[in-house]
Point group: C2
Chain length 261, copies 2
């Protein structure tokens, strides 16, 4: 797959089953989204959870009504087929991983599309900063923290953060750049001593892969889109579907359109 494919062409390839797996770096310049799909009876609480926790759960779009599998603001999306890989949860437990949810679709399902760090990583790289997980070709390291999310009904839990190390001047620049993008997690929530947010050991992330951290570098921590998945597992809705990690919904929105200035 080519980085300069249009999002439409890439979604068509995913829909046809000719592209599978990770969407990182594809359709460069366009927003990719975390996806959460829930029965309508659970959707209002989850919507409140997103609104109460905008840093880890920045809501970019919601389906117009239960059962609607389109997302017009994001392009000609059919959410049943346009994500390369889905995770199906039953009672909060991962039940299966599939490449198409047409057969699982229900009239009461509500789709949520949330911002993803790919957008701000692209902005950091475009500014000439080094993004360690990109340089080292691994998934970004993610950690459960001691930071409580604001709860909404059954949705609750600790914030998950992703970590990228920078030298101080680049850290300051990274904060400036990410501040422009509140719809994709925005500025970091913490920097420096990991212990202050309950992280014992940077070398042992809870999700993703460890990256090297130089002696003159500070770790920067961003609220992470895995947070809503953790809240989802805690809430145990009878049925839920998410994207598989790294296999995002590619949209027609440009990253630059999310910039607040």
């Amino acid at each position: 797959m080519n980085a300069i494919l249009s999002p439409h062409t890439l979604r068509q390839a995913i829909r046809a089953g000719s592209h599978r797996g990770n969407t990182s770096g594809l359709a460069a310049g366009f927003v990719q989204c975390n996806i959460v799909i829930l029965p309508a009876a659970w959707a209002n609480d989850f919507l409140r959870f997103c609104q109460l926790n905008p840093r880890p759960c920045p809501l970019i779009a919601i389906a117009n009504s239960p059962g609607d599998f389109t997302l017009p603001p994001l392009g000609d999306v059919d959410i049943r087929t346009d994500v390369p890989s889905y995770r199906v949860f039953r009672a909060g437990k991962l039940a299966q991983e599939v490449t198409d949810i047409t057969a699982l679709w229900q009239d009461d399902l509500v789709t949520f599309a949330l911002g993803c760090s790919f957008s701000f990583e692209e902005a950091l790289l475009a500014d000439g900063l080094e993004v360690r997980n990109v340089t080292e070709g691994v998934n970004v390291p993610m950690y459960r923290t001691s930071i409580d999310c604001n709860s909404a009904g059954p949705f609750a839990g600790k914030m998950v953060v992703s970590m990228r190390p920078f030298r101080a001047a680049d850290a300051i620049r990274a904060i400036q750049i990410c501040t422009r993008f509140p719809a994709v997690h925005g500025a970091p929530v913490h920097l420096g001593d990991p212990g202050l947010i309950g992280i014992d050991n940077l070398a042992h992330p809870d999700y993703g892969d460890a990256v090297s951290v130089g002696e003159s570098e500070l770790p920067l921590f961003w609220a992470c889109g895995v947070t809503p998945q953790v809240a989802l597992e805690a809430a145990r809705p009878p049925f839920a579907i998410t994207h598989s990690p790294g296999c995002m919904l590619v949209t027609d929105l440009r990253n630059s359109q999310l910039a607040v200035m």
Copy 2:
């Protein structure tokens, strides 16, 4: 003196000699400036020094021509009388401190007004952040660093920084706030380990007073308006005048007018 005095009224009081000393906290909401006055033969190099080092030397106004003691963009200023205390340098050495420079004025003197940290401290306080030197009622601690300024003719030297400690989340917020104000030093130039910019001991500032730094706090370092004074001492012009530390030119510009967004 009252914090809500208008800048005009405060300048009149200074001009009349009825207010002397520090201007910190006075005419709240209005820009205060560092002042450098040089013979025209030295002014072009100093102007280039400011343009090459905008973080420590953010130029807000220059007199229209040599000998002109007004600064119309900043209000009805007479620079010979409207600063509470002046330092007079001869051959780069402090020669005297005076409250009026009318008798010293020359037809070839060029006045430079540079942004000052009082403006961004006000923005930080207005956002609910604690500014340690304000809380502890002392001058901000300032340090000579190992960071080279870009030199211009005889003007050269190391950057001087001011330091304010914050917990991580407040540090991130402080960076966001100060980014809006490039005309008053802008975002910090460093944070974290002081040794990385050549500072041995935070408890022993080169200028100003030490402040307490909590165990969970990070020191943030801003480019400081003392930098041009150090460059001036190194350049040794035959004659130069600056404000005395903390005794600034109070202008009619509002701090908010300096915000880039």
